[in-house]
């Protein structure tokens, strides 16, 4: 291997590389050498970072003096997730979402916006859907958390998961764990007779609501789907909610329809 620091001839640049260096005004001898050296150092450090294990970082933290350690605002919390309890020691700033993903490796719940605007992080806490990105892990002591990973039972997917597959209720899949958790919680809300903004009469209180499509859309509006799989998500929900074996409403276009569409 050539020594790139001392051998000018090893910098055999392609035409493109020369052009780029020309454009940024670095293609004269001295500055070019300096730039390329820095580039090599930078590339090396990127490579090296892959070898820093979490153990190494943990050791570094352990070595910090006490007063700095106190700034970490440690909180201890026993997270009860999917019927398992995990004792965790966390920075007080840790959200439930980050605790699930980074500490418990439950990466099903997704970080979409991290600001409570998309619903990708929706989990079920004590039976109610909530946003894990705006929930502090510290405030979850004693609460029962269910994530997408906890919905299947005995190797069988939850009916809502099955319906999402059947009705193709997703494209990229990033919002799907949130959509499904939200849908599962909504089933209970409908059973309990909870109202929504589009409910006709707020004084008409009854259980076991049969939700219209308009109701489903309003009640699921907290879960944004960038791919726009909403029609299929509504179909999937309807099937589980109504208990009817609804056929998907979409079908492949016929050759005739395709020909017409091209006009």
């Amino acid at each position: 291997m050539k020594d790139i620091n001392n051998n000018e001839e090893s910098y055999n640049l392609t035409e493109d590389e020369n052009n780029i260096l020309d454009q940024i005004g670095l293609n004269d001898g001295a500055s070019r050498r300096k730039f390329l050296k820095q580039l090599s150092a930078a590339s090396l450090s990127v490579l090296a970072s892959a070898y820093f294990t979490t153990d190494l970082f943990a050791t570094t933290i352990k070595d910090l003096p006490d007063e700095v350690k106190a700034l970490l605002n440690e909180v201890k919390v026993n997270l009860r997730v999917n019927n398992m309890v995990k004792p965790l020691t966390l920075d007080s700033r840790t959200t439930l979402l980050d605790a699930l993903r980074e500490k418990l490796a439950l990466t099903g719940s997704k970080k979409g916006c991290d600001h409570g605007q998309c619903g990708a992080c929706t989990v079920i806490v004590d039976g109610k859907r909530r946003l894990s990105c705006l929930t502090l892990a510290a405030s979850c002591e004693g609460k029962e958390i269910t994530t997408i990973e906890g919905l299947a039972e005995n190797g069988q997917l939850h009916p809502m998961q099955q319906a999402f597959i059947k009705h193709d209720g997703f494209q990229c899949g990033y919002c799907t764990p949130g959509q499904i958790c939200s849908s599962v919680a909504l089933l209970e809300e409908a059973k309990n007779g909870e109202a929504s903004y589009v409910t006709e009469d707020f004084k008409d209180i009854k259980n076991n609501l049969a939700l219209s499509e308009e109701e489903i859309r309003e009640r699921m509006s907290g879960n944004i789907c960038r791919c726009g799989a909403y029609n299929n998500i509504v179909q999937a929900f309807k099937e589980v909610h109504s208990g009817d074996d609804v056929m998907p409403t979409w079908e492949f276009a016929t050759a005739e329809q395709m020909a017409k569409a091209k006009i």
């Binding site: 605002n73 700033r93 959200t95 600001h115 409570g116 705006l134 929930t135 809300e189 004084k203 509006s221």
Partner: protein, 330 residues
């Protein structure tokens, strides 16, 4: 997010004591607004005192023939409570128009009243904002102000209050109960609870340091038959109001006995439409009277460069909300 210590208060007394001991602490309810603002570096408390798990989670019938809503009860449970739906459907409707099921399951009633504005200049720390950083100026005044105030603003702040619940409470005439750090309680009328910007736009409400909202008292229900919460927004759901109108009517023998009207998305606080309410009292509930009341309500409107549309929209919104409210069958 900046570091903070987390204090899980077990009792109200503990929470008040912790708040009294640290002027840079902040109560944490559902966290739906506060944690977001902390992530944006807009709010910078060095201690969070969790109050969402405290008592004050009941809905009880009070001695004035109304209801008392617990300050720590969440928005979903409040809006869906049998007594609230039966006697204050206007409040249920307004609360259910807000945010999403997930957020309403988290947000507390007290926290809902203490939401900060959604003005983009307040959220963006590189922008001037007198509410976030007193004295830095108002970026929205000569900037993008299509979603801003048309009532009660001044050149210090043109932001609007985002709560839907508070608009319904203003129409209904609620009273807020706050616990002071010495343990005593005081009552604040909803009209006096939120403030206009004045010289201190950084202060949204008249709560004093360390005070904790423990209850919202509702008067005898007057609008349980004729009610409507109209919310106009940029999409059909999950958006803050451009303009909203809470309308309640009490109608006997073809005459309006009492009208409750308040508007959201137009001022630094829920905007009570007193002149329109007074005008409607004793009148027949018909289109002509609704139109006259709406014109009266919008007379004092002072729009900005980009929100002139709100004056006409506001007028139409009032007429529509009153019409919808009246058309509801008993």
């Amino acid at each position: 997010m900046r570091p903070f210590t987390y204090t899980g208060a077990k009792t109200t007394a503990e929470a008040l004591k912790a708040a009294n001991a640290n002027s840079n602490s902040h109560y944490l309810g559902g966290g739906t607004n506060l944690l977001d603002l902390m992530k944006e570096d807009v709010e910078r408390p060095n201690e969070l005192i969790e109050v969402a798990n405290l008592e004050h989670k009941q809905v009880i019938r009070n001695e004035k023939g109304g209801l008392t809503l617990g300050g720590m009860l969440n928005n979903s449970e409040t809006a869906n409570h049998r007594d609230v739906r039966t006697w204050y459907p206007l409040l249920s409707m307004a609360m259910l128009s807000a945010a999403t099921a997930q957020i309403r399951n988290m947000a507390t009633n007290g926290g809902n009243l203490l939401q900060r504005t959604r003005c983009p200049y307040f959220f963006e720390v590189s922008m001037p904002c007198n509410k976030r950083e007193p004295g830095s100026g108002c970026g929205a005044l000569t900037g993008m102000n299509a979603l801003h105030a048309i009532f009660g603003w001044n050149d210090k702040c043109i932001a609007v209050h985002p709560s839907d619940m508070a608009v319904a409470l203003a129409a209904i005439g609620a009273t807020i109960e706050a616990r002071q750090t010495d343990g005593s309680s005081r009552m604040i009328e909803i009209a006096e609870f939120h403030r206009l910007p004045g010289d201190t736009p950084e202060k949204d409400t008249n709560l004093e340091a360390g005070e904790l909202i423990t209850a919202i008292h509702l008067p005898r229900p007057d609008f349980s038959t004729h009610y409507y919460y109209l919310k106009i927004r940029e999409r059909a759901s999950y958006a803050f109001a451009i303009i909203s109108v809470a309308a309640g009517l009490q109608v006997t023998d073809g005459k309006i006995i009492k009208a409750g009207l308040a508007m959201g998305g137009v001022a630094h606080k829920p905007w009570k439409l007193t002149s329109a309410e007074n005008y409607l009292s004793g009148k027949t509930p018909n289109q002509a009277n609704f139109e006259a009341a709406a014109r009266l309500a919008m007379k004092e409107a002072k729009p900005l460069e980009d929100n002139k549309y709100k004056v006409k929209m506001g007028e139409k919104a009032i007429i529509r909300a009153l019409t919808q409210a009246y058309q509801r069958k008993a």
